[in-house]
């Protein structure tokens, strides 16, 4: 076996090992979220609410800005193409469907992957390096219950909320440019959008956003728990965390889009 082969096999093994341990990490998180509260170990709701403020409420401005601009771009781009067929009027419905099914969940998740995944890894990774996490363990306090579950809950609750917000603001952006720049009649734009949207479009977007939330929270926290080697390790893990969540989000998006396409 050549050394390159050996190295690639080593990498495959490493990847599989990480995949196994992140799955165990997820199972542990679910145990503390869904099972332990019924065995007299209540959820730390106060801490979860503080995290919701941190990851959710404070992300509103940036999510709103990105969604508005994406709405504008979507309508402009589709109008440009549809103009060739004399069907500019369809821009409204196209933008609405594209936003709710795809763009709003994906872009919100990407914004949060950069903002939140990095923050989780940097904060928890530093706690790992300064032995704060070991200290929790030694005080018989589960670090998963104390640190991970509130962050997990915050993400799973807030990302779908932010996605709904993104849906609305994105469509407002489309309405803005569609009525003012392209000249679609306001009443027609609203009518078209409402007619084109089905509940299942919005639902499939929300299902995706829950999956993305799980990915961001798990990758962000897991990479922190495997930090090695001081501040350099924290920096490296933070980078790995952002890249991994971005790639996983896009892969998961592809998978779920395919599933929805086939079964809905």
């Amino acid at each position: 076996m050549s050394s390159a082969e050996a190295r690639s096999e080593g990498r495959t093994m490493l990847f599989l090992r990480h995949l196994t341990s992140i799955s165990c990490f997820f199972v542990e998180t679910m145990k503390w979220t869904l099972v332990k509260p019924f065995q007299g170990k209540p959820l730390r709701l106060r801490s979860a609410i503080a995290q919701m403020d941190e990851v959710g409420v404070k992300s509103i401005p940036i999510v709103a800005l990105v969604s508005f601009v994406i709405g504008v771009i979507l309508v402009l781009q589709t109008a440009y193409q549809l103009d060739k067929f004399g069907a500019v009027g369809f821009a409204a419905s196209l933008a609405g469907v594209a936003l709710t099914r795809e763009m709003a969940p994906l872009l919100t998740a990407i914004v949060l992957a950069g903002r939140v995944s990095a923050a989780f890894t940097a904060e928890l990774g530093t706690m790992m390096v300064t032995e704060e996490i070991t200290a929790l363990e030694v005080m018989a306090i589960s670090p998963v219950a104390y640190l991970v579950v509130p962050r997990f809950l915050a993400m799973v609750v807030m990302l779908p909320c932010l996605t709904v917000l993104s849906d609305v603001i994105g469509m407002a952006g489309g309405y803005f440019v569609g009525t003012l720049a392209i000249g679609i009649r306001p009443a027609l734009y609203i009518h078209d959008t409402i007619n084109a949207l089905l509940v299942k479009d919005i639902m499939s977007g929300l299902v995706k956003s829950v999956v993305f939330a799980v990915i961001i929270a798990m990758v962000g926290c897991y990479t922190a728990f495997v930090v090695k080697g001081g501040s350099e390790g924290v920096g490296k893990s933070t980078m790995i965390s952002v890249v991994t969540s971005l790639i996983s989000i896009i892969l998961a998006d592809c998978l779920f889009t395919a599933i929805f396409y086939m079964f809905m």
Binding site: M127, T130, E131, E132, T134, A135, L136, E137, V138, M139, A140, I141
Partner: protein, 268 residues
């Protein structure tokens, strides 16, 4: 003035290696209830690994750790948590939670493991802080305290649940002589007045001789000397003598490479 010479912690033939490199090679020691037991040794001799085994953060490859007659290496997570509530631990850098105030840090184990009223917890936090002389600082964040104060707060947190054992990881490293003296005195007081068993890991010779009832010297994962401070001081072992007097020449090698220096240079 000890009442009974009962062994509380007993380590039997403990071995641990990391990636094939042995770190602990058959450690044996016994700690009596209510005494101060000091583990000394140079950097990289396995002190920290030994301590991590004692607090159940890592498990040994072989050997036993008996605490009150029960082998903690066989404990599952639930029983381990029960054991962990019986001891406190002072980490080298304090390991206070930076996001919480001093008060909340000390209250944390109380809030997690007791159903005490918030008012009573407040009183207990004040008592623990008074013990380490920092009652005025309960509303500050750990980052606003000096290193020595952080360690004292961490000690207060370690004592929050009134443990029977306290483990100290380098309690005096990086502190000025006065704070070193204060912490050493605190460890002594806790043991003599409250009967807390202390296990201290240190390479601070002065403080070690001041507080120890019994001490061991580790070298390369083995116990090379054991006894009272007097016995250690009079030990004929040149290794021990070099260590306690901090002499640069002696059996403890400065260089840790296995290859010949000349060979290594010529290789480039």
């Amino acid at each position: 003035m000890r009442l009974a010479l009962e062994t509380l912690i007993e380590v039997k033939n403990l071995c641990k290696s990391f990636e094939g490199r042995p770190v602990l090679e058959g450690i044996n020691l016994a700690v009596e209830r209510g005494s101060v037991f000091v583990i000394m040794g140079g950097s990289g001799c396995g002190k920290t690994t030994l301590l991590r085994n004692l607090i159940g953060v890592i498990r040994p490859d072989s050997g036993q750790i008996l605490v009150g007659g029960e082998d903690i290496t066989l404990f599952d997570e639930k029983r381990m948590d029960g054991y962990r509530k019986r001891f406190g631990m002072l980490f080298q850098m304090g390991a206070l939670l930076n996001s919480l105030s001093v008060r909340d840090n000390i209250a944390l184990p109380l809030r997690e493991h007791t159903r005490l009223d918030e008012k009573i917890i407040g009183v207990m936090v004040k008592m623990k802080l008074e013990l380490v002389g920092l009652r005025d600082f309960e509303h500050l964040k750990p980052a606003q305290l000096s290193g020595g104060m952080q360690k004292r707060v961490a000690l207060a947190r370690a004592l929050a649940l009134d443990p029977e054992i306290v483990f100290y990881d380098e309690p005096t490293s990086g502190l000025d002589p006065v704070v070193t003296g204060v912490i050493s005195q605190l460890i002594l007081d806790l043991s003599k007045r409250m009967g807390i068993t202390s296990v201290v890991i240190t390479h601070d010779i002065g403080s070690a001789f001041m507080i120890a009832d019994k001490m061991v010297v580790l070298f390369r994962g083995k116990v090379v000397a054991e006894g009272t401070p007097q016995q250690i001081r009079e030990s004929p072992d040149p290794l021990v003598q070099q260590f306690i007097h901090g002499r640069p020449d002696g059996p403890i090698p400065l260089r840790q490479s296995s290859r010949d220096y000349l060979e290594d240079l010529l290789d480039i």
